[in-house]
């Protein structure tokens, strides 16, 4: 694969849910390796659906998604598992297994690569454990490995979720509103870990965000969704007041996170 080939190509993606709601209506865009792409738009504009279609947590209705040159929508079983291992994901509500230890939560990032019975017996290799501990150190939670995930604060839980996704050694990281349920200062700390993953580990990032100030500070490019369609694509610095109104509606007023 060429280095400058796009890592992700989405073409004419449609998603209509069983209740008739058309969440995505012909979305097309391309992501190059190493980008930190922000996705903005109102709640219900299709941002979450878009991210979930890329790793097929949601089945697309029609269209094409090429990840590293391979067609994701045509994959089944083993192929899909292999693709998902290379696509990390973090969620708005962290989605950790709350009753398990922090270290075990990070180790679950490797499940796709570990045999079913070995993983059910909990027998991860020493290298995998060492790697999980190292990643916990990177997100600043080196001393929390044995603590139950439920005992951590929201920001700490999101950092564990980032460590879990990095455990996959992903090429692409999908972040679905990663800071929407965190306070402003914690938001920045979590965003900085994503930035670190992007700049130091070379992980391409696709990140749904609510706040334009975060978009301007962290992303390299941005697309805006409105009612399931892309209405803006370009540099985060070029989104001015007029564009903001078009995306978020006439009544909107920008809120800044310091």
């Amino acid at each position: 694969m060429q280095e400058d080939a796009p890592i992700l190509e989405v073409k004419d993606l449609w998603k209509t849910y069983d209740n008739g709601v058309a969440a995505l209506r012909g979305v097309s865009f391309t992501v190059r390796r190493g980008e930190f792409l922000g996705v903005i738009g109102l709640s219900g504009s299709g941002k979450s659906t878009l991210l979930r279609c890329i790793n097929r947590l949601v089945e697309p209705s029609s269209g094409s998604i090429r990840f590293g040159g391979a067609e994701v929508t045509a994959m089944g079983g083993k192929d899909l598992s292999a693709a998902r291992q290379r696509i990390g994901m973090v969620f708005q509500h962290f989605n950790l297994v709350k009753r398990k230890s922090v270290l075990t939560n990070v180790l679950t990032g490797r499940l796709g690569a570990v045999g079913t019975w070995r993983s059910i017996a909990g027998r991860f290799s020493p290298e995998e454990r060492a790697r999980a501990a190292e990643l916990l150190g990177i997100v600043g939670l080196g001393d929390k490995g044995d603590v139950r995930a439920s005992e951590l604060s929201g920001g700490q839980q999101q950092r564990v979720a980032i460590a879990r996704s990095l455990m996959q050694r992903p090429d692409l990281l999908l972040a679905d509103e990663p800071v929407a349920s965190l306070d402003p200062s914690t938001s920045h700390s979590v965003m900085r870990y994503l930035e670190q993953a992007n700049q130091e580990f070379g992980v391409t990032i696709l990140c749904n965000l609510h706040f334009l100030s975060l978009v301007r500070q962290y992303t390299t490019r941005v697309i805006a969704l409105q009612a399931g369609q892309i209405v803006y694509e370009g540099s985060p610095q070029e989104i001015d007041e007029a564009w903001f109104r078009r995306i978020y509606g006439e009544e909107a007023k920008e809120v800044r996170i310091q």
Binding site: W14, K15, T16, D18, N19, G20, A22, N55, L57, P60, S61, S62, G63, S64, E71, T73, A74, L80, S81, A82, A83, R84, Q85, I87, G88, M89, F91, H93, F94, N95, L96, V97, K98, R99, K100, T108, G109, R110, L111, G112, A113, T116, S119, I120, A161, R164, S165, Q168, L174
Partner: protein, 368 residues
Amino acid sequence: MKPLPDARAQHTDRVRRAHGAARWRAALLDGLLAWYILGGTVWFLRWWTHPPAVSGGAPEAFSPALHLGLLVGGVLLGLLWSSIRTSPGRMAVARTTPLLRGDAPKPAGGFWRTWHGRAVLYALALTLGLGLRITQVDLYALFSREGLAGARRIFEALAQPNLSIAGVVFDKMVETIFVALMATVAAVPVAFVLSFAAARNLSRHSAGAMALYSLVRFLANLTRSIEPVLWAIIFSVWVSFGPFGGMLALFVHSVASLIKLYSEQIESVDTGPIEAIEATGAGRLQTIWYAVVPQVVLPYLSYTIYRWDINVRMATIIGLVGGGGVGELLMQYFGLGRYNEVGTIVLFITAVVWTMDWLSAKVREAIA
């Protein structure tokens, strides 16, 4: 890429098929309601024109011809009724089918103001009236002199338990508790495995899993709807009278009940961790083990203890029909009319049930 049919066309097609299926379900509901209203009304009219021979007794049974007539009338009226958009069956089906809820009819002034709603209210009133007549509620019997004297005789004997048989009762009580315990312990692993197949949220992904889901659910519901007492009678023939038959009866019923309780627990788990584990590329078994099981083990334990508690009570009842334990003893003394001994047994049962109730509540509280 694989060709995908147009999403909107797919949707309208689904809605159309849902409409077709809904019409039949609505006709069934309307037919049942029409048959019930017709039959209940005829029952009352007959009771009015031909009062039963004994005052307060049951009236004559319906003749087969009348039954047939009511059935045919019900079916015809039901079909006719469900051709109206606001019939009770059409309304109920439209409101409970997600695809059709959007365009369910909204009668002016609300459903209860239409004559359809009034018909449902009439059916409810009819039910209350029929209930009073059929159970033969009789306040005279409840407070008659002879009745009260009999009750007093029994209560006095119960209040003076014959404690000389306490040793035998104790042994039989232990038997009952162990019958309940063994039935619960044996039921847990079976129900644990089957509960995952019986959870809708884990079965939606494929047609095969959905078929297994329906099968397990159907068998569990069927088994559960047969009372443990009936199972005890079946097993008393199969493995002869005694505690083993009683244990098997409770085992079968416990498996079915635990499947229901367990799978409902699975259906209410937080879906976030499931999504997250799936997204890492984990297989189905791994996803269940890492994202579902940790969320359900404690509730499972709680339900299991609760089930043991219920089984102790049921084991007593099962003893009455030959399932061993203290119930058997109770039946013997009751048959002989020896109420002082019955009093001793009732005392033991009450103490054990109360203790189990309290213990299980405490343990469940501790692990929650």
